[in-house]
């Protein structure tokens, strides 16, 4: 937990950070690397947590932490979909951004030790999972089989392609990628990500699954995994809701009795199954 050194900063006050690098990943998706402006220091977080990123004068949005560049640098991968994310997309090296965080629950990377790990991601959902993937790869001997399944809309939308390729190149990691709509030149899978589950080799009764993507994708993935014998408590999903505070005060992120900002965003599926099945919760 990052605690400001000021006597009583309000929980809604952001800290200034500077952009130290920027990369365009896809037509609408980019990655920024950030460093605290006043005192470059470590940014401790757990895989799966998120920050509130403030674009000066425009607004603030929840964005998952997609990695750690070492030396206290923080990485976010963002899709430009609206006012604030578009503002953030215009940031250049040296520009400033406000940060509050880290907030929320984490992927169960410690509890998963000794088990097979199955990652299922859709679209930009790969970004919040990257720190968990990195953690498993860095501590590879503590886990059983490692399966990464990823679905994107089209070949042009495959995020982190160089990394996917390098992970696939490892003998101890199984990576499978699919796209909804192929284009000429794509020799890979076409279809929904759930189709990749059948083929993947893991022991469903001794595995932990981590899911992030559109709700519909997560629902189908859960159905597939439970059909294969996986326990609902071993399946973890990252939820998205409107968020205005991230500290449990604004009410926007409520999901039944849960607050996605503080009880989530990562939930064991068993805890939210009924909520996910109901409409309009």
């Amino acid at each position: 937990m990052v605690k400001s050194t000021k006597p009583v900063p309000d929980s809604m006050t952001p800290a200034p950070f500077r952009v130290t690098a920027r990369r365009q990943d896809l037509a609408d998706t980019f990655t920024i690397e950030l460093e605290a402006a006043d005192s470059p220091r470590g940014f401790a977080f757990r895989p799966g947590q998120f920050n509130m990123l403030y674009h000066f004068g425009v607004g603030e949005v929840p964005i998952s932490i997609s990695g750690d560049a070492g030396a206290g640098k923080l990485i976010h991968t963002i899709r430009d979909v609206g006012a604030v994310t578009h503002g953030l997309s215009t940031l250049k090296k040296g520009d400033m951004v406000g940060v509050r965080g880290p907030f929320g629950s984490a992927w169960p990377v410690d509890a998963a030790e000794g088990s097979d790990v199955v990652i299922v991601a859709g679209g930009i959902g790969l970004a919040p999972l990257r720190p968990a993937i990195q953690h498993v790869l860095d501590n590879r001997d503590r886990y059983g089989r490692f399966v990464i399944l990823y679905g994107a809309r089209s070949p042009k939308d495959v995020l982190y392609l160089p990394e996917l390729q390098s992970w696939r190149g490892r003998l101890d990691t199984y990576v499978d990628v699919t796209v909804d709509h192929a284009e000429s030149g794509w020799a890979g899978n076409v279809g929904v990500v759930t189709k990749l589950i059948e083929r993947a080799n893991f022991d469903a009764t001794h595995a932990v699954a981590m899911l992030c993507g559109p709700e519909i994708m997560m629902r189908f993935t859960v159905a597939e995994l439970t059909a294969r014998g996986m326990d609902r408590g071993d399946i973890h999903v990252s939820m998205e809701r409107n968020m205005k505070c991230a500290v449990g005060h604004c009410g926007h992120c409520q999901f039944g009795p849960k607050f996605v900002c503080k009880d989530g965003p990562v939930f064991p599926y068993g805890e939210i199954e009924a909520l996910l099945k109901a409409r309009g919760v």
Partner: protein, 387 residues
């Protein structure tokens, strides 16, 4: 109705003062640096605002409240200061302002410098509330849990809250829309006040029983030279409060559990047909805390501000994420509101999100009654268990 007994000490904790000493009490609070807020009449309603003295209070004013209806009446005989029930305003507007500047920022060499104007303003806001009812104390305690009880605190709220002096009033009448007794929050004041008043007698005999709730309260009272109360004054006050609990609406005890299991009930669609989604209920509710923030910038782009303002789960925007609102239907939104108030709040904050003040019933333009709706769900659940 149960009120936790005050801890016994050798010092008396109940006093009596003449009704005309109310002015001295307000004066004492003002001269110790408090901005004193209390009930006063404006536009046909008892609202909350600055009071300079007892003359500003609604002496002789009483109210009649029904679903979707609110009227004031003035009585000539033995006029009382506090014989009306809660009005459309809540103390929330002072502790958690409808619009509040949280901070402003200037671009600087190393990023930007944030000035926490909200904290500065809150620090200057030394308030005293006169006339806080039992249900409202419960509502303030509920908001305390939300805004200061978790891992993160709202510092602006916490500052205002700590500095606020509270003079509570025991209700000796209640409106037809009140249901505090069934929520265990009133009509008698339990905890959370510095001083608590009960109005007694009338005319020449018009006086207040004053009970001490804190050392801060004790200090203020000592300056007023109040006399220790006689047992008969205390008994008269208790009897008056017990009277107020009679004839109230009731919230069924099983509402929290029944609503937790009513996600798919057809009743939500039925209520949604009547509900206008006007958000009036959330604006008058003393516990509703939902808010949003607006970030703005100066024309030249060198400065920025963040404002926080009240929001409502009844708006479509509230649950918006790309692709559309999560709660697109009125039925979803009413379900969110009612289930949150009466059920989810327990899981989230260990207490009810409804204190039984009845405001949402009175101020609903179509007169939707949360107790009546809750009874409908309870009836369905009983039917299901039998059938």
């Amino acid at each position: 109705m149960t009120n936790p007994a005050k801890p016994k000490s050798s010092k008396p904790d109940a006093f009596v003062m003449d009704a005309n000493r109310l002015d001295a009490l307000i004066g004492a609070l003002a001269s110790s640096g408090h901005a004193v807020m209390g009930p006063r009449v404006a536009d046909g309603a008892v609202i909350l605002g600055p009071v300079a003295g007892a003359a500003d209070l609604p002496l002789g004013v009483t109210d009649r409240q029904e679903p979707g209806r609110y009227r004031l009446k003035t009585v000539k005989k033995d006029p009382a200061y506090f014989d009306f029930a809660v009005g459309p305003h809540t103390w929330k507007k002072f502790l958690f302002p409808p619009r509040e500047k949280l901070w402003s920022a200037e671009r600087a060499a190393k990023g930007f410098a944030v000035r926490e104007d909200g904290i500065d303003a809150a620090r200057r806001d030394k308030l005293a509330f006169v006339g806080v009812r039992a249900c409202e104390l419960a509502a303030i305690a509920a908001q305390d849990r939300v805004l200061t009880g978790g891992e993160y605190r709202s510092e602006t709220y916490a500052l205002r809250r700590e500095q606020t002096f509270i003079v509570a009033v025991n209700c000796r009448t209640s409106a037809a829309t009140c249901f505090c007794a069934s929520m265990n929050t009133g009509p008698g004041v339990g905890a959370g006040h510095d001083l608590a008043l009960t109005e007694l007698g009338g005319g020449k005999d018009h006086r207040f029983l004053v009970e001490v709730g804190s050392t801060r309260g004790e200090k203020v009272l000592m300056a007023l030279n109040a006399k220790p109360a006689k047992p008969k004054d205390v008994a008269a006050a208790r009897a008056a409060v017990a009277q107020a609990a009679k004839g109230q609406r009731k919230m069924p005890k099983s509402a929290p559990t029944v609503l937790a299991g009513a996600t798919d009930s057809p009743r939500w669609a039925d209520i949604a047909q009547r509900c206008l989604n006007c958000a009036s209920c959330t604006q008058v509710c003393p516990t509703c805390f939902c808010n949003t923030v607006t970030d703005t910038t100066t024309l030249d782009g060198s400065g920025a501000e963040r404002w926080r303002h009240w929001d409502s789960c009844f708006t479509l925007d509230f649950s918006y994420i790309h692709g559309g609102a999560i709660r697109g239907d009125g039925a979803h939104r009413y379900r969110q509101w009612m289930t949150h108030k009466l059920s989810h709040w327990f899981e989230q904050f260990g207490t009810s999100g409804c204190v039984g003040c009845g405001r949402c019933i009175t101020w609903c333009p179509v007169g939707i009654d949360i107790t009546l709706e809750a009874r409908g769900f309870v009836k369905d659940a009983k039917g299901k268990r039998k059938g």
